[in-house]
């Protein structure tokens, strides 16, 4: 009789633990679902300030799509080559194009004279960080 009681107690303890675990799992899933539902409802009523908003396809944004797609495709093809000292200008431009696509997009917009100055700078300091800064500064002039 005593054994039965102990066994029953053990079973009921295990049973309630299983139920509790299942319940907590369901509760967690429900909480996550509730969270997602709340943020979706909040999103439907949200908008940004119209003065700050620009469409990504606005004509004023310079379209680099074709250039970017073509060149980033090339860039993904091989291993990244770092800027090293002693490159000729075509090699320098090729490395920029293949490994520093963002900087290259800005470089492409520079005048011939500005490009020559960037290359000249590279010859004295091939550090990519400094070359990038030089390109950015030139593009803002």
């Amino acid at each position: 009789m005593r054994l039965d009681l102990v066994t029953n107690f053990r079973f009921s303890a295990c049973g309630s633990m299983v139920v509790m675990l299942l319940f907590s799992g369901v509760l967690m899933a429900q909480t996550e679902a509730d969270y997602l539902r709340s943020i979706e409802v909040e999103a439907s009523g949200s908008s940004v300030d119209s003065e700050t908003a620009r469409s990504a396809s606005e004509k004023s944004g310079k379209d680099t799509t074709r250039l970017f797609e073509r060149e980033s495709g090339q860039a993904q093809g091989g291993a990244r080559v770092d800027l090293t000292a002693g490159l000729t200008r075509p090699q320098f431009e090729q490395v920029l194009k293949n490994s520093y696509i963002g900087s290259y997009l800005f470089y492409k917009r520079l005048s011939e004279a500005q490009k020559a100055r960037v290359y000249q700078f590279y010859q004295t300091n091939p550090d990519p960080v400094h070359v990038r800064n030089q390109i950015l500064q030139a593009s803002k002039r």
Binding site: S46, A53, S57
Partner: protein
């Protein structure tokens, strides 16, 4: 007679001065920066502030209060080892890591938020992606974008060597290779938003190195309150 010679030069100088003053922005990003340019969906977008100094915020981000939970104020420290960044660090990031593909700015919000406007240069990876199973193709695709490779079967000996710190073992686990992991800045709606903290915790759970993760706590709320440019993404 002398005055006669100087007058045109003076006029020219005054005109040049005036033009440069007209070109300079009154509301700059920082004392030395008028704007930053960033590539968003293949287009160059200029990020600057609203120049109208009488403008006050309109739209959803003018709202001060939302029900908590779920929209509760987030702590600065969302997880151990995660640094918090502000707008100026984001401008630097846009001009450096983002430009050369060494980093990503991640809009961790669900697509419903993303399509209503995002920070230029961001990519949308909703936080839920980082809670998926390591074999889920969506997670594998997202991790690839972050520079993380899914690992195949790794031999027991190789793993044992990695675990003692060789072969970049500190940047690898059974599922992922983080040796080329990009520097990430994750953001969502701001101080009251739990989406990017969840994304960060999800990434940490997957093994992403904490020193490559940054939390922009101000998010869209702070970005909007400074009148900074937002883009409405093209439908993909």
């Amino acid at each position: 007679m002398k005055n006669h010679y100087f007058a045109p030069f003076f006029l020219l100088f005054a005109m040049l001065l005036n033009t440069s003053q007209l070109l300079a922005l009154d509301v700059k990003l920082t004392p030395t920066r008028d704007y930053v340019e960033v590539i968003h969906q293949g287009k160059l977008i200029k990020v600057q502030r609203i120049q109208d100094q009488d403008h006050t915020l309109t739209g959803g981000y003018a709202k001060t209060s939302r029900k908590c939970p779920p929209f509760c104020i987030q702590p600065m420290q969302v997880a151990p080892g995660i640094q918090v960044v502000g707008q100026v660090e984001i401008f630097d990031f846009m001009e450096k890591e983002l430009l050369d593909g060494d980093g990503l700015l991640i809009d961790s919000r669900t697509p419903a938020w993303w399509k209503r406007g995002t920070i230029p240069g961001s990519v949308n990876i909703p936080f839920v992606v980082f809670t998926l199973d390591p074999n889920d193709p969506q997670l594998i695709e997202a991790m690839k974008l972050l520079g993380v490779k899914r690992r195949g079967d790794v031999g027991g000996i190789s793993r044992a060597i990695e675990e003692i710190g060789f072969l970049d073992g500190d940047r690898k686990n059974d599922d992922w290779d983080f040796t080329q992991a990009k520097k990430l800045i994750l953001w969502c709606n701001g101080m009251w938003c739990g989406q990017s903290p969840r994304a960060i915790r999800g990434l940490l759970k997957l093994g992403y190195p904490a020193d490559r993760l940054f939390y922009y706590r101000g998010g869209m709320q702070a970005w909007q309150s400074l009148g900074l440019t937002v883009v409405l993404p093209d439908e993909e």
